[in-house]
């Protein structure tokens, strides 16, 4: 994924327009560089809050989210005891789990290296698009 600068006013304006057009109430984005929160008020005016991480270089938690709605599988084979203990160090390409839709499995990769600290979804639970699955501590 390419890095998007969420502190760029043009990006915020674009996202706000997109949310308003889609009738979406709000949006929250967490990235290692900071957080962005947009709340579209009923009057159609958006409130925007953005804060950069106070101390770049510190340890910050990042969420790995479901890339698709489906059943969350921790391991590749159902019934296997491959579930690794937490916390554990991972690299960006490591597969942390899977989203299963029918017989098809979509691997969920970490996307960044760091330490997996939390499992946030229940194994075999139905999860929605964007549902948090894992928390990773990224050493930036």
């Amino acid at each position: 994924m390419s890095a998007i600068d969420f502190s760029d006013p043009a990006t915020i304006a674009f996202l706000t327009d997109a949310l308003t057009a889609a009738g979406v109430a709000g949006l929250e984005i967490s990235a290692p560089s900071g957080q962005l929160r947009i709340v579209v008020s009923s009057a159609g005016e958006a409130k925007i809050g953005s804060n950069r991480s106070a101390q770049p270089g510190s340890v910050s938690p990042v969420l790995v989210r479901a890339p698709l709605a489906g059943y969350f599988c921790v391991a590749h084979r159902s019934g296997s005891a491959e579930v690794s203990s937490l916390p554990r160090a991972i690299c960006a390409t490591d597969v942390l789990g899977f989203i299963r839709v029918g017989p098809v499995l979509l691997p969920v990769s970490a996307g960044r290296s760091g330490t997996v600290t939390k499992l946030l979804a229940e194994a075999d639970a139905m999860v929605g698009y964007g549902a948090p699955l894992f928390e990773i501590e990224v050493q930036s």
Binding site: P103, V104, P107
Partner: protein, 331 residues
């Protein structure tokens, strides 16, 4: 384009086979595990009958000369891409110059490499399968050799594979209810009594009742089984007749032969039974030394299994297409 960097003997290009020419002495050929071929092709975005590589001797290595989507299916071994372990039954993207390596799988016999666009060798009598018996088809009618450069078809119109891959719950797991194993772990293969079944005493109980072992004299043509010989109650002189994969013959020695993908087109031994088509891929994945038992089946059961397999394949096709399109739209 791909280039074979390392290969054992008898690895070939195969597809779903060349049926319809037995009358002129041409074996059907085709993959020993056609289900793995179909799923591999569907995941990668090909037509389900596109040609693939059938790997039955290891280690095997190839280098991608073009960016390609690929799947290694059928096997229980983890393929390696540039030394990084991947999962079998998953589609991935390979960059130019990356090396795919297959090591000896833990339990199963054969691995299939499906590549986006399909292995593009000449189509002979409706198939790209290698006929080792006839020395035609596939890659110049012979097994793959180190240094072979093989053309891969165009990927035009193929949906992109997600960066982290896309896979399936493999058939043996997804269709577990339809493919049982015995309590002792021997393979249960369903079969129907065939033409000369009545020649064997006690309704063929010696055949159905024992555990057979796949002998070392087994290959793509047929599996010779070892066990207590079964002999017919009377010796019959039969004219040679047509034979298809799955037919179980009993030669005079009494140890059965199961005809496989490169089956003879005709034979004269009495036929005791025929393996149902939906269990042939499991036999195709059974290694020499595997213990197996035949289970008497019925047309109705065979049909029910066939329908379950067909709906699994259709589900994989529909769902994988849907997911690829959704992820492409969100990208």
């Amino acid at each position: 384009m791909i280039e074979i960097v390392e290969t054992g003997p008898f690895n070939t290009v195969q597809d779903l086979g060349r049926p319809g020419y037995r009358d002129i002495g041409v074996s059907a050929s085709g993959a020993m595990d056609p289900l793995a071929v179909k799923i591999g092709n569907i995941l990668v975005g090909n037509a389900e009958g596109a040609a693939v590589l059938e790997i039955q001797t290891f280690p095997f290595r190839l280098i991608f000369k073009r960016r390609s989507a690929f799947v290694v299916s059928g096997t229980d071994g983890n393929p390696l891409l540039d030394g990084i372990e991947l999962l079998p039954w998953y589609a991935y993207n390979a960059e130019v110059g990356q090396v795919l390596e297959l090591k000896q799988p833990p339990k199963l016999a054969r691995a299939y490499v499906a590549i986006g666009g399909g292995v593009d060798v000449p189509c002979i009598m409706g198939s790209r399968s290698t006929s080792l018996r006839g020395n035609f088809g596939g890659n110049a009618g012979r097994p793959l050799e180190k240094g072979d450069r093989i053309t891969v078809g165009e990927e035009a119109g193929i949906l992109p594979i997600p960066a982290s891959g896309l896979g399936v719950v493999e058939p043996a797991v997804a269709l577990r209810a339809f493919f049982p194993r015995s309590a002792e772990g021997s393979l249960l293969i369903r079969a129907l009594p065939a033409g000369e079944h009545r020649l064997f005493a006690g309704d063929g109980e010696a055949f159905w009742g024992q555990t057979w072992r796949i002998s070392s004299r087994s290959d793509r043509t047929g599996y010779r089984l070892s066990g207590d010989p079964v002999v017919p109650m009377e010796t019959v002189e039969m004219r040679s007749h047509g034979v298809v994969p799955g037919v179980i013959q009993v030669p005079p020695g009494g140890e059965p032969i199961v005809q496989m993908s490169d089956a003879n087109t005709a034979g004269g031994y009495p036929k005791i039974a025929g393996v149902i088509e939906c269990d042939l891929w499991r036999l195709g994945q059974a290694r020499i030394g595997t213990r197996l038992q035949f289970v008497r089946s019925s047309y109705a059961e065979a049909r029910a299994i066939e329908q379950a397999v067909a709906s699994y394949i259709e589900d994989v096709r529909r769902t994988s297409g849907l997911i690829k399109r959704a992820l492409k739209a969100m990208a």
